[in-house]
Amino acid sequence: MINYSEIPSHFWLVSSRLKKPVQDEVPYTTQALRQDLQRVQIAWEECQETRERDAIYTYLTAVFGLVAWWVADNCAVERAQKALRLHNLRPSEHKEPFAAIIRCTADPAKVDKRTRSKWSRVLRYALQYKDHSEPLDQFIKRKGGINRGAERFSERTGRRRRMNTWF
């Protein structure tokens, strides 16, 4: 029986369903990383400009899309750390790639640590269980929404929060 609570959070990123690392032969430059982060940041700004209830999914889809291919390229952790350094943030405080990219691209005044953690967990849950062909928003809604998806991830990893009011 696997004790999930013993598994570090980055396990979910380096052991996705893509078991064999597929290295792309085109090097991923710092300039390319900046462009990718800028695209995610634009998605954040666009979702802030609208009052539509589901607007946040545009942003989460952008974050997910970026980290998902990094994971497939087997370089998610190091690229997320590089992204943090580019934003003059300390990588040690944001070890998990989804949380790191959210920290780099969303307004920290609007997205606090708890929200970041919640979004990061629901995205890790999607990374593990979502079929590649299913849109992220559809998957999350099918699983009961962002809060429920984050809870599901916590349940899977055995990291139950002591206070339900956190969510």
Binding site: D24, A68, W69, A72, S133
Partner: protein, 83 residues
């Protein structure tokens, strides 16, 4: 590994390859295309993502598509003005 691209990006990469290939006789087609993709990615015109099968693919970025759509509209307007 095959460099998979969407149609729009493939068109522009092929066009760029046609322009540059005589300047790089020592590079294979694959090497030159890889170089072009790296440059396109660096300037924000190309991006990588996963396809429906979880494979890494290249596609034209949203900003690139937007620019192309603008250019197309402008060309159509110009044509209308001439007619």
């Amino acid at each position: 590994m095959k460099l998979r691209m969407d149609k729009t990006l493939r068109f522009w990469v092929d066009a760029e390859y046609g322009v540059r290939k005589s300047d790089h006789p020592n590079l294979t087609r694959r090497q030159l295309i890889a170089r072009i993709l790296r440059e396109f990615e660096g300037c924000g015109d190309a991006m990588r993502c996963l396809d429906r099968n979880g494979r890494i693919v290249w596609r034209a970025s949203p900003s690139c598509l937007e620019r192309l759509a603008d250019a197309e509209r402008e060309a159509e307007d110009e044509l209308d003005d001439r007619l």
